[in-house]
Amino acid sequence: MSAEIVIPYNDTDRPDTGLYNAKLGVWLFLASEVMLFGALFSTYILLRVGADKWEHGAEILNVPLATLNTMVLIASSVTMVLSWAALKAKNFPRYRLCMGLTFLAGIGFLIIKSLEYKAKFDHGLSPATSTFMAIYFMMTGLHALHVIGGMIVNGYLLGPGAKMWHTEPRRFTNRIEVAGLYWHFVDLVWIFLFPTLYLLPGKGM
């Protein structure tokens, strides 16, 4: 009655689909995230087109800091995929190093982001100030929440979750791949967010 259930295709691929379960699962989840951020980009477009005046992002927002943050996130994507490659090469210490760097980069991103936000609040800019500020805080805020979520997962896989490497190495490697897919997606969203909010010209100002 209490025999453990074994769910197949957690570490090997199902032959006819060529997928292991978590990979399909995470891509489906990412598809839903595309629709989530898609709705926000739709919002940006609708609000901007309907507005008489629209702020020039580069004049209000901190482009140098955000550019730095872009590089931080891109670097973290590289270290993330390198951590997976390390496991495929069965190099656990290198995995630890790369995942650790990814985690640190995440922290860096959040620190820079909080500096940005603090500067806005100090200047009296908030979501209530204008629809531009509202969509800025909404998009970057939701993105930052996703960064935090990813860091929680990465932190777990760096810490207590890493025990699985010794018992089920293939399944653990798959977990890193899946976590990586999520993390790259977070980077991908930022790649579109950054020019949209910070770099596009204004309107009627």
């Binding site: 025999a3 074994v6 769910i7 379960n21 699962g25 709705a39 209530a128 500020m133």
Partner: protein, 597 residues
């Protein structure tokens, strides 16, 4: 295949404790039951809300006759026993929300989907059992937040289940403190929705991966039970359509709590004063994002029901479903089209004629697969050896009821006719026909059908027939008059049911007809509740593991199915509806039975 290298050997003798087994279970069957019981309670609660509303509609301005309820609700909600308009609006908004998001979808997808999909595909559990467990508890929390919203200052959300801006933005906003703005009905509605949407998203990922990855050997796509196809398409709808509403919900919450103006246009005047906000927002944006979900949502409400009806009909006609392939392709096409019709809910918002024509066209196109599916189910009856079991009664009634619901949708989908019918009782009649004697009847069919597999006992036949016939008559009494009222021009969401309008005078009497029918309908459900509990405790045991002589894999397990479902994973050799196969020994051949030599 998969490695057995986990260190579970020394846990093998461990029975999980009570909490692990019944509260935080990861077994899809128990989670399905949790969803089922919780959703039935919410359905009953949501129905009670409307039974209360129907008093005000039938006897406007008259004190509610049940004294202790008036006392319990209090003077603020029922001053002098007469319903306050704000409370009427709360009941209306929450009735819709609870029935759709806490009732029907969790029952159709969370209960039936969770319980049946792994069994019907021949799997031991869902692909992600722990995620499944989390999905249920996130739903539960969302439900609690929704119910608690009745008890905060200002009461529950009162801007309709559609929560249109700017009304939803400016109603009962709370005070200057952030927490007081969060603890308002509409804000809690939005917070609750975030939880419910998250639960749905996680659940849909689980169902899709289970169907794609965990099908038993030999279970090819075209051998899947129609119910599984329906659940697959439903899950894709939930996956891709819900996120825009989640985004919109967070934005409306931001508007209410942080003072942004996503949905507030410039220069808005409320109660004589111009709103002190930045403006520049768009109320229409809310409608787009809301309906982008809410249209596919209605197909989420109906597709699992169609799946259940398919299973019950095949089993009780002792023949395969007619047009299996057309059912599958129509369902897939329906799911796809459901994403491009949403603005037929917005015909009267000032969109131009070209856009209106576009959405009208897609809406007419989407009626085609619906008709194909309904026709295939009806044609499946032809030449069948029909067994009028209680599940079959509900499934048979579903067909014309869904037909009425579907057909009355057509004038609403045509922009010109919609000018007259939009936001009238005609709309309420239309969508209730599809969801109430439509989906809900199908779900009852499912409960009566699978009850013996879940509990080992069959629900009492006599009580079942009483439940069916009284419900069928009463439910038509509630919703048929709505078409008449709607065509006469009676608007929806009117506190007094049209009392003060000249154009409504001739049809006012129908309010009493509908209310009395609704109360009769409520009484009929008590028969079901009694049957449900009595059978679990003392009902007649089913004669064997497959009391309906069915062919699909869930009937090939012990009763109730143990943890892990199958003693060994079955291999599938045939399609799902091999009833009355010429030359076979019995009038049904289960899927896992190998071809005779």
């Amino acid at each position: 295949m998969s490695a057995h290298t986990h260190d579970h050997e020394h846990h093998a003798a461990h029975e999980p404790g009570f909490v692990r087994k019944y509260i935080f279970s990861t077994d899809h069957k128990w989670i399905g039951i949790q969803y089922g019981v919780t959703s039935l309670v919410f359905l009953f609660f949501g129905f009670c809300l409307v039974m209360l509303m129907r008093w005000q509609l039938a006897y406007p301005g008259v004190a509610f006759p049940i004294g202790f309820i008036n006392q319990w609700l209090g003077e603020a909600r029922m001053p002098g026993g007469v319903m306050a308009p704000e409370f009427y609006n709360q009941l209306g908004a929450m009735h819709g929300t609870i029935m759709v998001f806490l009732g029907v979808v969790p029952l159709a997808v969370g209960a039936f989907g969770n319980y049946l999909v792994p069994l019907q595909v021949g799997a031991q559990d869902m692909a992600f059992p722990k995620l499944n467990m989390s999905s249920y508890w996130v739903y539960f929390i969302g439900g609690v937040i929704m119910v608690l919203s009745f008890f905060v200052p200002g009461g529950a959300a009162q801007s309709g289940w559609t929560s249109y801006s700017p009304l939803a933005n400016v109603t009962v906003t709370g005070g200057t403190e952030l927490i007081s703005r969060l603890l308002t009905g509409q804000s809690m509605w939005l917070l609750g929705m975030v939880f419910l949407i998250t639960s749905s998203l996680l659940g849909s990922v689980n169902i899709i991966v289970t169907i794609v990855q965990l099908r038993a050997p030999g279970l090819t796509w075209m051998r899947l039970p129609f119910l599984v196809w329906a659940q697959l398409v439903t899950s894709f709808l939930l996956l891709l359509a819900f996120p825009p509403l989640e985004a919109a919900g967070i934005m409306q919450l931001c508007d209410r709590v942080l003072g942004s103006s996503f949905f507030l246009p410039s220069g808005l005047v409320v109660s004589g004063k111009e709103l002190a906000v930045s403006g520049g927002g768009s109320a229409l944006l809310w409608q787009h994002l809301f309906w982008f979900l809410a249209h596919p949502e209605v197909y989420v409400l109906i597709l699992p029901a169609l799946g259940i009806v398919g299973e019950v009909i095949a089993n009780n006609t002792r023949k395969p479903l007619w047009g299996y392939k057309s059912l599958v392709y129509a369902t897939i096409f329906l799911g796809f089209m459901s994403f491009v019709v949403w603005a037929h809910h917005m015909f009267l918002t000032g969109m131009g004629t070209t856009i209106n024509a576009f959405f009208q066209t897609t809406t007419m196109i989407i009626s085609v697969p619906s008709i194909v599916i309904l026709s295939a189910l009806i044609l499946s009856l032809w030449g069948g050896s029909i067994r009028f079991t209680v599940p079959m009664l509900f499934a048979l009634a579903f067909l014309p009821m869904f037909g009425i619901g579907g057909l009355t949708g057509l004038p609403l989908g045509l922009a010109t006719a919609d000018i007259h019918l939009h936001d009238t009782y005609y709309v309420i009649g239309h969508f209730h026909y599809v969801v109430a004697p439509g989906s809900l009847f199908a779900l009852f069919a499912g409960i009566y059908f699978w009850f013996p597999k879940v509990t080992g006992r069959k629900l009492n036949e006599t009580l079942g027939r009483v439940h069916f016939w009284v419900s069928l008559i009463a439910i038509n009494g509630v919703f048929m008059p709505m078409f008449i009222q709607g065509m006469a021009g009676v608007s929806r969401r009117l506190y007094d049911g049209g009392l003060v309008y000249l154009h409504a005078q001739d049809v006012l009497v129908l309010n009493k007809v509908m209310s009395h029918s609704a109360w009769l309908l409520g009484a009929a459900q008590l028969v079901f509740v009694i049957n449900f509990f009595w059978t679990i405790w003392a009902g007649k045991k089913a004669e064997n593991d497959n009391p309906w002589d069915a062919t699909t894999l869930e009937w090939a397990t012990p009763t109730p199915p143990p943890h892990g479902n199958f003693i060994e994973i079955p291999t599938v050799y045939r399609g799902p509806y091999e009833y009355s196969v010429p030359g076979a020994k019995r009038d049904f051949t289960p899927q896992h039975v190998a071809k005779e030599a």
